[in-house]
Amino acid sequence: MTVASIPKTQLLNIENLAVEFRTRSGIVKALDQVSFSVAAGETVGLVGESGSGKSVLSLAILGILDAAAQITAGTIAFEGDNLLTMPRSQLRAKRGTGIAMIFQNPRVALNPIRRIGQQLRDVLIAHGGLTKAQCQTRALELLTQVRIPDPHQRINAYPYELSGGMCQRVMIALALAGRPKVLIADEPTTGLDVTTQAAVMELIRDLGREGQMGTILITHDLDLAAQYCDRILVMHAGHIVETAPTRLILTQPRHPYTAKLLAATPDPHKRLDELTPIAGHLPDLRGTLPPCRFQSRCDRAIPDCDRAPLKRQAIAPDHTVACWHPLPLSSGVES
């Protein structure tokens, strides 16, 4: 099934995606009206507080959500094919080869009782076309590619014998095994040390450039996203509220939430009194929600904000905002 109207350069195209979770205390609308696309060679940052739906989105793209979750609307098109209507076996074939993912907490994301090499071979065999000997060579190649020292020795190691940073490199090697076109990195540096974080991010960036992969970096750290991404999507309570090229979003945030997030994030040049907290917390995603889920925390909110439907709209080239009253363009901020 082909979704029309998708430019050929876009690898991944998500339209109007909605995900709900059934829980004991009601239905949680985890994602709503989520649309974006990723092109080859591009790095997109998906930024938001915990509970904003970032990880749900990544699992939904790969089709590995919990049984309690349900995709209630939308399409996820990979190279023009809708993953949501695809037969299971075909979808499985896309995992790893079309879209691959690396997870947070790499130590627990690897099978603890299987050697690194075995896990790599499992993935290589699943993607098919390789003999046993070729698998071994390719596994070593992958470990070298992710800059693991002594790959010949490490290939026989168990995850517990490796440091967190090394485990994350193994995760990246596993993800690269199928030569994916899109790589989703879900908080890849959470739980890693600052210096290791830099090394892992550099590796992800370089591999993306070499392989012309589209990369989605999911993070709560706006600074990190700003440093490594071409474009940033800001998520709040299951909505994407603003998208723009990195430079633009840092200097000209138009959604009040983005502006507040920027103001609350410490960076090397801010003093404590320049750090402004965001009032309130994420709304309860159960029950009926207002069209703008930021309304209760927004100091610009007026009764008029209740208007539906609120759609994300382009307000400048490459810049979209889901807000009835976006912040005005400030001319002098450009640094």
């Binding site: 009782i113 299987r114 499992d122 168990y158 596993l174």
Partner: protein
């Protein structure tokens, strides 16, 4: 390097079993010294004089202080001397070695029965949590562990032997007319196959079915429960999600990733399962007149045959320690992290 650490792990486990063995020997000694009745009176016979009794007491070493008695006891054990049974007139060691294979055969059969049913049920329940099947399996498991073994046995006998008459009479390992196969391992099923005596094999098999099921039902529940719980935990773990994200085949994930990891917790509960099996053995053997060491112990208890009881408790405990030790070692084989 890895081989060496495995070997070291096994040796460590073996050494760790030593305190347990010492503990078992001490407890068994204390228990038997506390047994009611004076064994000297027993051995001397009903019409013995006080002098004769004292003589017997001295020859048994019962006039010595407890520590010395303990040392003697250990000496005897090391020589393989478990004493003599009053009821059978044989050495306890002889009785135990002739009867142990019967108990083992029953226990192993029950274990195979329990695993063959419980593992698949546990996996199914974990794959479809909170489904109708899951609820049904969970209820059946709870019911299974609530069944008193001796009652299950009687119930099965009533239905399948008395009512339906498709099961053989509870006459032990063979019916009264069949003679046992040549003793090789002592396990009738294996011996009869080795000697090619298929009639005996079928006989022994039919006799074994009901007691084995009775015993197995009690072990079903713990195995299925743990299988379900650990499969659920493993299936929701991060590394399963990783495996799925790489497009591995569902069966590959289920077997190489989920089940192998779940097996670790299943193995750890096998100790409890064996405790159940060996304990319930006694009850099942009584119901089915199974000539194992359990029924031997029950008879010995009734006639205050202290050497036999002591031999039985000791054998069971040692058997159990060996089983636990094997579980530990198998665990170490599967989990590379063990012993680190």
């Amino acid at each position: 390097m890895a081989q060496q650490s495995k070997l070291r792990f096994i040796i460590q486990r073996l050494l760790a079993a030593i305190p347990s063995i010492i503990g078992v020997v001490v407890v068994t000694f204390i228990l038997t010294r506390a047994l009611p009745g004076d064994p000297a009176v027993f051995f001397a016979g009903p019409s013995a004089t006080q002098e004769a009794i004292d003589q017997v007491r001295a020859s048994l070493g019962l006039d010595q202080s407890l520590p010395i008695q303990f040392l003697r006891y250990i000496q005897d054990l090391l020589k393989g001397d478990f004493g003599e049974s009053i009821t059978t007139g044989q050495t306890v060691l002889y009785d135990l070695t002739t009867r142990l294979p019967a108990s083992l055969e029953l226990t192993i059969a029950a274990l195979i029965f329990a695993l063959a049913i419980a593992l698949p049920l546990g996996i199914v329940a974990a794959l479809y949590p909170n489904s109708k099947w899951d609820h049904l399996i969970r209820f059946l498991m709870t019911a299974g562990v609530s069944l008193p073994t001796f009652f299950t046995g009687l119930f099965l006998l009533y239905v399948f032997y008395y009512r339906l008459n498709i099961a053989p009479a509870p006459t032990g390992r063979l019916d009264l007319l069949t003679s046992p196969p040549d003793r090789i391992t002592g396990l009738f099923l294996i011996d009869s196959l080795v000697t090619g005596d298929f009639e005996v094999f079928i006989q022994a098999f039919c006799q074994l079915v009901m007691p084995a099921i009775t015993l197995g039902i009690f072990a079903l529940a713990p195995v299925a429960r743990v299988t379900r719980a650990s499969m659920l935990a493993v299936l929701s773990s991060d590394y399963i999600r990783t495996a799925r994200s790489h497009g591995l085949a569902p069966l590959k994930i289920l077997w190489s990733y989920a089940f192998r990891n779940a097996l670790l917790s299943i193995l750890t509960t096998m100790g409890v399962v064996f405790s159940f099996l060996l304990g319930s053995n006694v009850l099942v053997e009584k119901v089915f007149a199974w000539p194992g060491i359990g029924s031997y112990a029950v008879e010995a208890l009734i006639s205050s045959d202290y050497a036999a009881v002591q031999g039985f408790v000791l054998t069971m405990a040692l058997l159990y320690i060996v089983l636990n030790l094997s579980i530990d070692i198998i665990y170490g084989m599967i989990d590379p992290r063990a012993g680190q």
